[in-house]
C-alpha cells in the first residue's frame, strides 16, 4: 500500500525502525489522511478504529492490570501535498495497567494541510502511561496542526507526555491540553519545539491538581529563529492538601523571532504549592562561553546548546 510505504519510509528516515509495523508482538495503528492503512491488536490491547469522511475515529483500551511491554505505535500522517486529517481518539488505560505509546505524526510533503487531534485519555487508578509524540511536518511550513487533549489521571496513576517537533518546519501549531490529576497521581507534560521561518507556535497546557498529594510538571522548551513566533501558556492549579506543581518554560530566540511565556499558577489550598520559572532570550552567555573555551565557535556552541535543550 503506497501510503503505508511513504509513512514507514519517512518514519525510517527520522530514525525509526519500520519493522515495528510487521512485528506481531507490537500493537499499532497507521492512518494516512482518512484512510486506515494498518493496525494490529495484541493481547491486552484492543483497537477499534474507523474511517470517517476526513479522518479516523478510534478507541484504544489497555485492559485492567495488563502491562504492555513493547511500545504501541500510532502512525498518523498525510502523504499527499494537500490534505486534511481529523483524528478523534479515546484512550483508556484501565486500573493498574501500564503501557507506552509512540505516536509518529508525519506530513513529509505537505504544501498545505491540516491535522486536528481531539483526544480523550482516561488513565484509571494505579495505571501508568508514557505517551511520546513526535512530529515531522516537512520543510515547507504549510501544515496547520491542532492537537487537543482532555486527560484524566486517576488516583495513584502516572502520566508522562512528551511532544517533540524539532526537525523541519512547524507551520502553525496550536496545542491545547488539559490534565486533571487525582490523589497521589502524577502528570508530567514536556513539549519541545523548534520554530523557523514564519512558523507560529501556540502551546497551552493546563494541569489541575485536584487530589491530595497530586504532582504536576509542565516543562516547555522552545527555540525560535528567523521570523518565528511562539507563545507558551502553562497553567498549574493546585486545589488539595500536599499537591505540588511546577511550570518550567525556557525559550531561546534568535534573529527576529518573538517569544512569549505566560505562566499562570493558582492555589486554593493552604497546604498546596505551585512554583514556576520562565526564561526567554538568547543563549545563556555562560553556557556559550564555556563551550567556546573548549574551542567551539559561536555558531557551533549555539547549535549545541539549542539541540541539547530540545533533546
Amino acid at each position: 500500500m503506497r501510503e503505508l510505504k511513504i509513512l514507514t519510509e519517512t518514519f525510517q528516515s527520522l530514525g525509526g525502525d519500520p519493522e515495528v509495523f510487521q512485528d506481531r508482538h507490537i500493537a499499532h495503528m497507521a492512518a494516512s489522511g482518512h484512510r486506515l492503512v494498518s493496525q494490529r491488536e495484541i493481547p491486552g490491547v484492543t483497537i477499534d478504529a474507523h474511517e470517517t469522511g476526513d479522518g479516523i475515529t478510534n478507541t484504544i483500551i489497555i485492559e485492567k492490570g495488563k502491562h504492555i511491554e513493547l511500545p504501541i505505535h500510532l502512525c498518523l500522517g498525510i502523504t499527499e501535498k494537500t490534505g486534511i486529517q481529523r483524528i478523534q481518539t479515546r484512550l483508556v488505560i484501565e486500573e493498574g495497567a501500564s503501557a507506552s505509546f509512540l505516536a509518529h505524526c508525519l506530513f513529509p510533503f505537505v504544501e498545505s494541510g491540516e491535522h486536528r487531534m481531539d483526544a480523550t485519555l482516561e488513565i484509571k487508578e494505579g495505571a501508568h502511561v508514557r505517551y511520546n509524540e513526535s512530529h515531522y511536518q516537512g520543510t515547507l511550513g504549510g501544515m496547520v496542526v491542532v492537537p487537543q487533549a482532555m486527560v484524566s489521571v486517576g488516583p495513584g496513576a502516572q502520566y508522562f507526555s512528551d511532544f517533540s517537533l524539532v526537525k523541519g518546519r512547524v507551520g502553525q501549531l496550536q496545542i491545547d491540553y488539559v490534565v486533571q490529576v487525582e490523589a497521589s497521581a502524577v502528570a508530567e507534560l514536556t513539549s519541545k519545539v523548534f520554530g523557523r521561518g514564519s512558523d507560529i507556535i501556540h502551546i497551552k497546557e493546563k494541569i489541575v491538581l485536584t487530589g491530595e498529594h497530586a504532582r504536576g510538571l509542565i516543562k516547555t522548551r522552545v527555540a525560535l529563529e528567523h521570523d518565528a513566533q511562539g507563545e507558551m501558556t502553562g497553567i498549574m492549579e493546585a486545589h488539595a492538601k500536599g499537591a505540588r506543581g511546577h511550570v518550567d518554560c525556557r525559550e531561546i530566540i534568535k534573529d527576529r523571532a518573538v517569544g512569549r511565556a505566560i505562566p499562570i499558577v493558582q492555589v486554593t489550598h493552604p497546604e498546596a504549592k505551585v512554583t514556576h520559572e520562565a526564561s526567554i532570550g538568547t543563549v545563556d552567555k555562560k553556557e556559550l562561553e564555556t563551550l567556546m573555551a573548549h574551542g567551539l565557535d559561536p555558531e557551533q556552541a549555539t547549535e549545541l546548546i539549542v539541540s541539547g535543550m530540545l533533546q
Binding site: 567556546m292 573555551a293 573548549h294 574551542g295 565557535d297 556552541a301 535543550m309
Partner: protein, 242 residues
Amino acid sequence: MPLVDIQHLTCEIGGSTILRDLTLSIEEQEIHALLGANGSGKSTLAYVLMGCEGFTPSGGTMIFKGMDLGPLPMFERARLGMTLAWQEPARFEGITVSNFIRLGKPGVDPAPYLTKVGLSPEGYGPRFVDRSLSGGERKRIELAAVLALKPRFAILDEPTAGIDMLSVQDMMNVIRSFKEDGASVLLITHQETIALMADHASQLCGGRIIASGHPKDIADQYKQGSCIRCDGERCLPFATAR
C-alpha cells in the same frame, strides 16, 4: 620567553578599575598560584585572559606562545591551547557528561578522565551536565573536561571550591597531572594548602600583583592581611615591606 606574558594589564568594568597595571609571567609547565581576597580581581584576570564578553582590557598586553591574545576571540584563544575552568561551571540541558568531556576533542575516551577526578565512567558518563549534579560533581566534571582538552595553559578558578575535604588531595593530584601532561596552570585559589602545591605564587590586591615568589612566602604574607573583601589598601604595606 615565558609561555604566558602579561604586561601592564588594565581592565575597567562599569567605570571601576578592576585590574591595574598588572604584570605576570608564567613559564612552561609551571603551576602558578594566584592568591587574593574576594574582589581583588582574580576571576576578572581569568576572564580577561580567556577573552570573555565584557572583559576587554583597556591597556597592556597578553602574550601566549608568542602571540598577542588581544585581537583574538575566545574560541581562537582556546584553539591555541588555552582554556578556563569556571569557579561556578555552567550547566547544560541535554548534553551528557561523556559528550561534554569530548567537546573540542571528539575522539577522546572520557573514561580515564572521569576516573581521574573520582567519578565512575559508567555512572556519570550517560548523565546530563544539568541541575541534577551537585556543585562538587559539576566541578569534577569541569576539571575532567579541561584535562581531556590537553591544553598548554589551563586557568583553574577555585578548582577545589565545593569539593569535600576528603577529596581535596585527589583534586590536587588532578591539578598536578596538568603539569605532567605538559601544561602550565594559573591556579586561582583562596586555600593555602592548594597554593602550596604551586611552583610559584603571586598575590593580587586591588587589581595589582603586589608580590610574587615562593608559594610559602606568598601564602604567609597573604595570611597576614586582614581583608575579608579586598580594598586594595591594607595589603600594600606588606608588599612594601618585602
